[in-house]
């Protein structure tokens, strides 16, 4: 039996004896973990194709893994459901959807009560991620009634998918703590406030006339009247349009994190990542942690946009990073089998003859995020007092989102007439946390006269300072005196390893020359968060420099672990004396040569899908725009059904705007699609309240 599960993980808890239930898929009997979602259960059993599209029979599978699209639709006990948000029930009969799902002939009339549940509050908070939770706690600290709605079972938003130590500052935003833990801390802080109500599994689905907000509260449509609405709904992943982008096996990095880090499923064996921002770089690292090979990462720009430390740590592990490259196509029979990338010219056009093909089963798209701001726009249009915080306001790190939530909560309090201040340094810190990584300036060189000393390979201005906080001799400082500057060893080092243990970028190693008076060998300690079976005490391991360049071989002397290391391990390596300062990490994989295949032809627009829900191609839209001269997105909707599917244009709206731009049409001249409820499909049952009117109290 296939079992594509993460069996061991260096950071996450893997249950030793999980409770399982039986279910069936297309007649095959399979096992799922109790209460996991159908899509993860199917992936764990090696099923990646969930059905075929009614229009053209194209295979369908996971895309958003977030309840926002409907690519993962399956029939569960006869009813069409989104596999990614529907838990498996014992003995559930799951079937793939081929064509349109039939409506089961369940003709028993219902007894209905005529009522629409309604509640009132001062502040409605949409989204229970870092910004929303911090805002709720802040409002709660001032006894302001609020309701926080989140569509997931577990609060924390994307924090719950982040296994890495956070950047930022220790004092302000839990730097050095893992995202998964921060989510729990923030939830607890919000939960401890009496005036805060936390509604999980309660997506906000629309804003209606007079600013009444509709929420599907655990399956029941409920209306909320609030004095203010704070939209902290986060971000959604941007899509890319290329040939084969609609194949099962091409999806977003966030979807991957959900499958791996939340559900402990191994959705892939060999992965290629498109996009060298922080999300792409971090996901490459997380894939390796879960035992999934990362064949490569392509970035369109000449440099990765993410933190250099994130890039370097995957380079050290042996993942090749192809800058100035784009994805040309994903190929495969019914699911991804290969990816083709090519070098791009200065205008980002692929250069013929530079194609490289890799055999992979999954291509992750990590080309940036866009704010989820439709509810805010709708709320404002309908006369609500609306605030935005976190990624819904501006895309940045979660640490910035926490600050944003805190500041915006204070703004709301002030507007509600409370006497509160917004400290000036909060605003300064928020700005720093939001700042993009600065240019690579190089790191401060180590002081060679010392016998034991850290090498702080932090060469870029990023908002981070835990190393300065933990140093027991106060020997590490940021000369600029702020969060953004690079750390420098300015004092003594006793070799305590605390800086190596905490650096979120894994950018610090410790050189120790005290053990071999003959100066043949030195000890180097590097941080380690990879699966434990990859290194053993006594083994020789291939060592690499900071950017993955091979150095030589080291011998693993000890593997340090312990509570204070917060699941990180430290590898104490014995290396040749002269290598000590070069060694920054240990390689776990060898970059491979691309597969030799015949040169691919030009990309055909008729194969590029823009609207996944309704299977509208780039060519269809281009032809329509040329023939009609239209500049109205709504006309494209009407004519071609672009954006009329279950996701409501969440992916294709942006891709279509990009298409306008490619055709030389100013996106500002384009009439945007009109927004209407619902922001996601709502089951009819959510609107029905069963029972007799006479039952009403």
């Amino acid at each position: 039996m296939v079992s594509e599960r993460v069996e061991r993980h260096p950071i996450l808890d893997v249950p030793a004896h999980p409770e399982t239930v039986e279910f069936s898929f297309d007649g095959r009997s399979l096992r799922a973990r109790k209460s996991e979602v159908i899509s993860s259960a199917l992936f764990a059993n090696g099923v990646h194709v969930f059905g075929h599209h009614r229009r053209d029979g194209s295979p369908q599978g996971i895309f958003c893994a977030n309840g926002q699209c409907a690519q993962c639709l399956v029939l569960a006990d006869g009813l069409p459901v989104k596999a990614c948000v529907t838990p498996v029930r014992p003995d559930m009969t799951v079937r793939s959807i081929e064509g349109l799902p039939p409506l089961p002939p369940d003709d028993v009339p219902l007894h209905l009560r005529r009522e629409i549940p309604r509640v009132e509050t001062d502040v409605l908070i949409v989204g229970g991620g870092p910004a929303g939770l911090v805002a709720a706690a802040e409002l709660g600290a001032h006894d302001v009634p609020s309701i926080l709605c989140d569509d997931k079972q577990v609060l924390g938003g994307k924090l719950s998918l982040q296994t890495h130590n956070f950047f930022g500052s220790v004092d302000d935003c839990y730097a050095g703590v893992r995202g998964t833990e921060i989510g729990k801390i923030l939830e607890q802080q919000a939960r401890s406030r009496r005036s805060v109500e936390l509604w999980t599994e309660s997506p906000v689905v629309g804003v209606f006339q007079d600013g009444v907000v509709g929420v599907v509260k655990q399956g029941h449509f409920t209306t909320i009247r609030a004095k203010s609405m704070l939209v902290a709904a986060g971000a959604r992943e941007k899509a890319l349009a290329f040939v084969g982008a609609d194949l099962p096996g091409v999806y977003g990095a966030g979807a991957f994190q959900t499958l791996v880090n939340r559900d402990l499923v191994k959705p892939a064996r060999r992965l290629f990542i498109v996009g060298g921002g922080n999300v792409g770089l971090i996901v490459a690292y997380q894939a390796l942690q879960a035992g999934i090979d990362v064949v490569g990462l392509a970035e369109m720009l000449p440099e990765c946009g993410g933190y250099k430390v994130h890039r370097d740590k995957i380079l050290r592990l042996g993942v090749p990073v192809f800058t100035s490259h784009t994805v040309l196509r994903a190929e495969g029979d019914g699911r991804v089998e290969r990816v083709v990338i090519a070098r791009v010219d200065a205008r980002f056009q692929p250069i013929p003859g530079t194609e490289r093909t890799f055999e992979v089963d999954t291509v992750l798209i990590a080309v940036g995020l866009s704010s989820v701001n439709e509810l805010a726009e709708e709320g404002r249009r309908l006369g609500m007092r609306v605030y935005s915080a976190g990624d819904a306001h501006e895309i940045a790190e979660a640490s910035a989102a926490m600050f944003s939530g805190k500041i915006v909560a204070r703004e709301i309090l002030r507007d509600l007439g409370k006497d509160v201040e917004i400290p000036a340094d909060w605003v300064t810190i928020q700005a720093m946390l939001r700042s993009h990584p600065g240019p690579v300036l190089g790191y401060y060189p180590p002081p060679s006269e010392m016998a034991v000393y850290p090498i702080l390979r932090c060469s870029q201005e990023i908002p981070c300072n835990p190393c300065t906080d933990v140093c027991i001799t106060d020997g590490i400082a940021i000369p600029e005196g702020n969060l953004l500057g690079r750390p420098k060893l300015v004092g003594d080092c006793v070799g305590c390893l605390k800086c190596v243990a905490i650096c979120p970028g894994l950018a610090i190693s410790l050189v120790d020359r005290r053990h071999d008076p003959t100066q043949q060998t030195a000890r180097v300690t590097v941080p380690w968060e990879m699966p434990e079976e990859l290194v053993h005490v006594g083994d020789p391991v291939p060592t690499t420099g900071n950017e993955g360049e091979p150095v030589g071989t080291g011998k693993v002397l000890r593997i340090l672990a312990g509570k204070s290391l917060n699941r990180r391990r430290l590898l104490v390596l014995e290396v040749p004396w002269q290598d000590a300062e070069k060694v920054a990490g240990v390689r776990v994989r060898t970059p491979e040569a691309p597969v030799e295949v015949a040169s691919v032809g030009p990309v055909a627009d008729d194969e590029v899908i823009i609207c996944r829900c309704e299977r509208v191609t780039k060519e269809m839209i281009e032809q329509y725009l040329e023939a009609s001269g239209s500049r109205d997105f709504n006309a494209i909707k009407a004519a071609l059904r672009t954006g009329m599917g279950p996701c409501g244009g969440k992916t294709c709206a942006e891709l279509t705007l990009r298409l306008f731009r490619e055709m030389g049409i100013d996106p500002k001249s384009v009439t945007p699609p009109s927004l209407r409820p619902f922001s996601q499909e709502v089951p009819m049952k959510a609107f029905l309240v069963e029972g007799d009117d006479a039952d009403r109290v």
Partner: protein, 390 residues
């Protein structure tokens, strides 16, 4: 490219009525300009229509015009090669009460007089026509299998494309600011971009119709009210006819409601509020979906398993007597009206367009002039009685 300024006819409004009118005018060889204030065709009331097309009215003029509409819609794909989502699934008015039974049976003689294919169907037979219909209290109903549905979105698009193919010029984002008058005759229109000349101007501007008429000194009372609609995710086709339930709802807010499954498999639905909601507010209300959901599952319980995709709110350009105002204005030469469709502009549109084109090109409508005259702008708009099957 500059737009020519001399035309045979100018149509104000690229919507349910304006698009077919432009198409048929071009068919008659008349150089036609279509102006719309919005940025694309069919973006006003057209796209809010649910797309039902029936000839089974009680007003003879509407019966005749909709018979023409059905003829045009049902042959559109043969005529142009374009699929506009025509589905000949009929209309069904089920009767769960004595009162509704009496109402719909009472209309049958008029409807049969116009040779409409409609009849009373007993409950057992109706269950076959409407699979899953609630049998509690079901007395039977009328069924008219020749009626059907069309996608308003695709139809607007296709009428526009075909009209353009024949030579019509469309200008969007150009509201008409005034009419060019020559004595008692209209001689063209003005917009922010300048003047367009034509001796015929067709007012097909939906809820803006009164304002356009006022530019010619005419008082044509057309007041918008609003209705909400919604649509589900598609399911495998199981429901042929559009269903109209003429019972007022137990919630005290709906006077009747209607729904059907379109050619995509989506269930599309709408209700008529007991108290008309005047004005041009198009924001959806929170209560629409709970109210209509209860009504839908009461008629067909299996609809409880649908997923609801989207809701919206559209405008009905209403006239005092509930009937459209179609034809030449008696006092302003060259000004032709296709206005006040009272929420049925989509199904009336092609019939109205064909008749207006005939009227303009040949001096008379294509249907019986006497029947056509029932909708005349010159009638006493406050005298007629309201239509029974609104």
């Amino acid at each position: 490219m500059t737009t020519p300024t001399e035309f045979d006819a100018i149509v104000i409004g690229a919507g349910s009525v304006g698009n077919p009118t432009a198409y048929f005018l071009e068919n008659e060889g008349l150089r036609t300009l279509v102006l719309d204030e919005l940025s694309a065709s069919g973006q006003g009331q057209n796209k809010a229509a649910i797309g039902g097309v029936r000839a089974t009215h009680s007003d003879p003029a509407k019966i005749k015009l909709c018979q023409e509409s059905i003829e045009i819609f049902s042959h559109w794909e043969e005529r142009t090669g374009t699929d506009i989502g025509w589905k000949k699934g009929g209309y069904c008015f089920p009767a769960f009460t004595e009162k509704v039974e009496a109402t719909i049976k009472g209309l049958l003689p008029v409807q049969k007089k116009f040779r409409l294919n409609i009849d009373w169907v007993e409950a057992d037979e109706l269950k076959r026509v409407v699979p899953g219909i609630n049998e509690n209290g079901l007395r039977g109903g009328t069924y008219s299998p020749d009626d059907g549905q069309v996608s308003p979105l695709l139809a607007a698009e296709s009428f526009t494309r075909e009209a353009e193919r024949l030579g019509a010029v469309y200008r969007y984002g150009e509201p008409v600011t005034s009419l060019v008058m020559k004595g008692n005759a209209v001689a063209g229109v003005r917009t922010a971009n300048g003047e367009y000349r034509a001796t015929t101007v067709v007012n097909a501007s939906g809820v803006n119709a009164s304002a356009i008429c006022r530019m010619a000194g005419l008082d044509v009372p057309i007041l918008p009210d609003s209705h909400e609609g919604g649509i589900s995710a598609p399911v495998k086709p199981f429901l042929d006819p559009l269903i109209v339930d003429l019972r007022p709802g137990p919630e005290g807010k709906t006077i009747n409601f209607y729904f059907g499954q379109d050619a995509n498999g989506q269930i599309i639905f709408c209700y008529t509020p007991i108290a008309p909601i005047s004005g041009t507010n198009r924001n959806s209300t929170y209560e629409f979906m709970p109210i209509v959901a209860a009504r839908l599952v009461e008629v067909i319980p299996r609809l409880k398993n649908l997923m609801i995709r989207r809701v919206w709110r559209g405008l009905y350009p209403m006239t005092p007597d509930g009937s459209p105002i179609v034809g030449k204005t008696p006092t302003v030469e060259g000004l032709v009206l296709g206005v006040g469709m009272c929420g049925q502009g989509f199904m009336l549109g092609p019939g109205v367009g064909e008749n207006l084109a005939s009227l303009i090109a040949h001096g008379g409508p294509s249907i019986d002039p006497e029947v056509f005259g029932l909708l005349s702008p010159g009638r006493d708009l406050y005298a007629g009685k309201k239509e029974a099957l609104k």
